[in-house]
Symmetry: none
Subunit: 192 residues, 2 copies
DNA sequence: TGAGTATGAATGAACG
DNA sequence: CGTTCATTCATACTCA
């Protein structure tokens, strides 16, 4: 079962990690509480997939009531949740035509599998399929609603990148397997 | 990132994936070696943010000694590194309180808490901001190295790297100190 | 207690 | 350049 979302395990109720310490910083990752997970899940079910920065901030602040949390946790949570749902769906729907001898040996352009992930397949586990996926979810109708920001991204066609990549991607300087001696980094970074 | 920056896991040390296969092999995405990461990081710390095509070429060539690499990898690395450092500043912030209701139902919870410590504050690298951000970095001067296959270029490129820390680590966190009543989730999600 | 799994975190690659 | 996707690593947790 790669998708058992039934074990809640009530973690973080009595004690969260990252208790004391403060210096070791030895990988204490966020451990969401059940309330936090519920909130996040509800938001996700409501259609929130990629919250904006402001939204993340608000969510994070709300969740902070239930325990230590940071914005990045919320960010990662949605990122992972969305990705895994998609991944799960893909896995399931892939069992259809198992003729995958795709001989792609060029630049790994994975565009083929990017824009289509909605085959009318519904094997078992028809997890809540198409949600609304609203993208401008009104978060916490609190006092202010300074969300009048219009996403005007992709407003500049910066050819620079494409040019950069294209001009350099085929820079097959032979070598690569050479055996020329390399000085230590310290030397080569002496200018630092 | 003071929370997980140290997880280098020494990938690519003993064996890189994508063996000498070159390109047509099964190689997935570039997996930088520790040496490569170090070099790149050093360059970044030195202020290099947006290397020019020539610079990318040189860096890539240098790094090719430590493992398979293409110019586009270097290009992407800088793009990502720069973008993420900035992203962190934006997304990270929100002082995370830890004011949970803490009802007295702290489940036994196996008392198997692993000793994790984390700085009670500063989680996503809020430091290291007074970097030089030099504009034109001279790559690999190769002062006294017995290697003359490269000619030190003095290409003067105008890179206006004004990436400056302008996002004050704000914490709009207003009040909500200790007794702020939290309505049930259903209420707060009423907008759904 | 170790194998298997769920998931937080990180990052290479690429899009708009 | 900001954002998003896909993949991978690391770890917390469950269970036999």
């Amino acid at each position: 079962m790669s998708s058992g979302e039934f074990s809640i395990k009530a973690r973080g109720l009595g004690n969260n990690n990252n208790g004391g310490g403060g210096t070791g910083t030895k990988c204490g990752r966020w451990n969401p509480t059940v309330e936090q997970v519920k909130l996040l899940t509800d938001l996700f079910k409501a259609g929130l997939r990629t919250p904006s920065t402001d939204q993340i901030q608000k969510i994070s602040m709300e969740l902070s009531f239930y325990g230590k949390i940071e914005s990045k946790n919320v960010f990662y949570w949605f990122q992972n949740h969305k990705a895994r749902e998609r991944q799960k769906r893909r896995k399931i729907s892939t069992v259809d035509f198992d003729h995958r001898q795709d001989t792609n040996l060029s630049i790994p352009h994975r565009d083929n599998i990017r824009h289509h992930q909605q085959p009318p397949k519904d094997t078992f586990e028809a997890c809540e399929k198409e949600e609304k996926v609203i993208e401008t979810l009104q978060l916490f109708p609190l006092s202010n609603v300074e969300r009048a920001r219009e996403n005007t991204t992709a407003a500049r066609h910066n050819e620079y990148i494409r040019e950069q990549v294209n001009t350099t991607v085929f820079s097959t300087y032979s070598s690569c397997g050479a055996e020329m001696e390399h000085p230590p980094l310290d030397l080569r970074l002496s200018f630092l």
